[in-house]
Symmetry: C2
Subunit: 411 residues, 2 copies
């Protein structure tokens, strides 16, 4: 069996892109995909945290705490959620305690504040995601932590005790109470962030932000059409569009409380909220300028509907396949309407070294938006990490409609 | 009833792009599309030829000839193939003679040498193409003509008697013995071109050329994969790839004489020729680098097969829908493999004012390739224009496999 490592630590930064391609190649035929998961972290990770974890797998402990080790240095017990095999979350996710070593020169110790359970985490655990990490692994793709110790030896880094940070890389393995890493493995957040906003920053808001920035040069007043308007990304799109002066046309699934949902999204800044059925017949929509950008999280028939409504030369960005159906494009839309289809995957974008400066700017913008109230965190529930079994169950309701994001907290 | 005009003359150059969009919008849902047809020509056209044709519709005459008109000037009788209603070609295509007026200052008279019957012409006549011209109209999308008279009055233009020319715009209405236009409506070809090569230059070789140039920056040794490898565009792709040093993987439909076809395409420079079935299992193909560019004229399942074989970040260019099925893309190919889907339509490219310099360079390259033998004209048959009924029938064989391009000649 492999030694226990965080999802990302199997890949050095040099290997990551080619390995990522391998992983993608294995899963290219899968229609069961969700955005934002991927394995990669700097080599330092492999050399420090992952290696340090070896041999500590069976250490037990109830709470993270400093204690005297045999070498007379304080040590920390980390509680972490892992899986050793793929399967249904309630069966394969386990909590484990490991004793962390003392810091090496240049390292910092972080204590997790809050970490999110995303649909891609569930899919990863089920073995249905594009990325299939080597097992066992520490789960979790995003979260916010506090720096609680900085090594006094080695090169001085930017982080100080009390700073709030998020991991630089996706798929870091955030479902754990503590972690050790080097300064460059973490991005420092500005002071005064809300914990839930910080914990949910790295996946959905970033995906929304990039999809609005990177594919079409939008002008104020332009329409953006999207399905899954009620999703985490969908809500971020609505708020960002309102901020930038774009009009958002938001398609949602019909449901008993549709009026309340529509009001909620309209209050958030949506220009129009339509059910799939309303989308097909809306005269009001057809009287407007056509959208040059469509964002597709559903695929199947829903994607085809969006394509038919787009402006000539428009771009549809696919970032999800909730309908578990492929995207079907009329040939005429490609040839005569010049519609282009692309995909967006936050992990790939994030791994690209060329994007690191843009990432800093993006996180700075998004933190500002959350602090000012330009963006608000979607409905969520903060759950103590020890109740992870209930949180996992609540993250995958029987009707498939996740109304409330589960966020694990570590106190 | 409208006055008789060439397909393109209903649109001035100013109107053409917005009108084109309208036309496209009407047909966006159609899966029955082929490349390269469109309405547009400079305003001069509307002011000269189209207007001049009014009132001459019922003039009869067997051969084009100069004759004395009432104003004592020589005039020309033009034989032209027109349609007054959509339908099956054998029922709705008619030959008509009209007397052309004498030249105005700045105009030239051209005599058609050879003009092609393309699948898009058949689809247009059947009313199944994206562009539905106002009727009646003169048919024909490409052809080569000789300048036989140049007005001695008005501004001097570049054309001289004896020059070979092709119309600048697609959908010019080339199925006619003569036409009058201004110098800027025609592109002069270099001396020494073969008539069949010149007559088939504007649609298939240009489509192949642009698809290889405009979407992926190919390097020598890169793979290009395409279906419809035996089509006019397909053969041009094979020859251009061989010339530029790219490897071409060519998918063709299985048929009784498959060995002969394979040999023919391999002799032409193909790297590999595979039937659809062979494509799905070829180990040799899977041992090669993956193609960054796929060219799709078939759509349906064939397109999905190509997508699965592409390199991460690759582009599939769709230019036809022979299977009469939409393009179906696995969601994972978009999100995780970053495959992009675009369409190519020669008419749109050709209409874009920004492309006029590139068009000159392209035609110069292609003429050179045909003169040097780098490219050869696909199997074709030169048919006197008076036998147009047989040529039309031969252009749409019952099995749908057009083995031999029909080219109408005017002698």
């Amino acid at each position: 069996m492999n030694s226990l490592t965080p999802l990302s630590s199997k890949l050095t930064s040099c290997q990551s892109m080619s390995r990522l391609r391998q992983l993608q190649a294995c899963s290219i035929h899968s229609n069961v995909v969700k955005h934002n998961y991927g394995p990669a972290t700097p080599q330092t990770m492999t050399g420090s945290l992952a290696a340090n974890l070896m041999g500590h797998q069976n250490t037990t402990g109830v709470a993270a705490r400093r204690m005297l080790s045999t070498s007379n240095k304080l040590s920390v017990t980390c509680q972490q959620l892992i899986m050793e095999e793929y399967g249904e979350p309630e069966k394969v996710v386990k909590m484990q305690s490991v004793e962390l070593p003392s810091l090496k020169p240049g390292e910092v110790l972080i204590k997790m504040i809050a970490t999110t359970i995303n649909p891609s985490d569930i899919n990863t655990i089920q073995g249905m995601y594009a990325v299939k990490p080597d097992l066992p692994c520490i789960l979790g793709n995003e979260g916010v932590a506090e720096v609680i110790e900085v090594s006094s030896e080695g090169e001085k880094g930017p982080l100080q005790v009390g700073d709030w940070v998020i991991p630089v890389m996706n798929a870091y393995g955030t479902w754990r109470s503590h972690a050790i890493g080097t300064h460059d493995e973490f991005t420092k957040l500005p002071k005064g962030m809300d914990a839930a906003a910080a914990a949910t920053l790295s996946v959905n808001p970033t995906t929304a932000y990039r999809m609005l920035k990177d594919f079409v040069k939008l002008e104020k007043g332009d329409l953006v059409i999207q399905n899954a308007g009620n999703s985490g990304v969908g809500r971020a799109v609505i708020q960002l569009c309102a901020h930038y002066g774009y009009k958002s046309i938001n398609v949602v699934r019909d449901r008993p409380a549709i009026a309340e949902l529509k009001k909620e999204l309209m209050d958030m800044g949506a220009t129009m909220v339509l059910t799939e059925r309303e989308l097909r017949v809306s005269r009001e929509l057809r009287a407007m300028e056509k959208p040059p950008l469509a964002l597709n999280c559903v695929s199947g028939k829903s994607a085809t509907e969006l394509i038919r409504l787009m402006r000539d030369g428009g771009v549809m960005v696919t970032y999800g396949g909730m309908a578990r159906q492929p995207v079907t494009v009329p040939v005429g839309s490609l040839i005569f309407s010049d519609v282009r289809l692309v995909g967006y995957w936050q992990t790939r974008w994030s791994l690209n070294p060329a994007n690191q400066e843009a990432k800093k700017e993006m996180l700075s913008d998004l933190c500002e938006f959350f602090k000012k109230g330009t963006m608000v965190v979607p409905p969520h529930k903060m759950v103590p990490h020890t109740d992870y079994m209930k949180a996992l169950a609540d993250a995958m309701p029987a009707d498939g409609q996740v109304g409330c994001k589960q966020i694990l907290t570590f106190n």
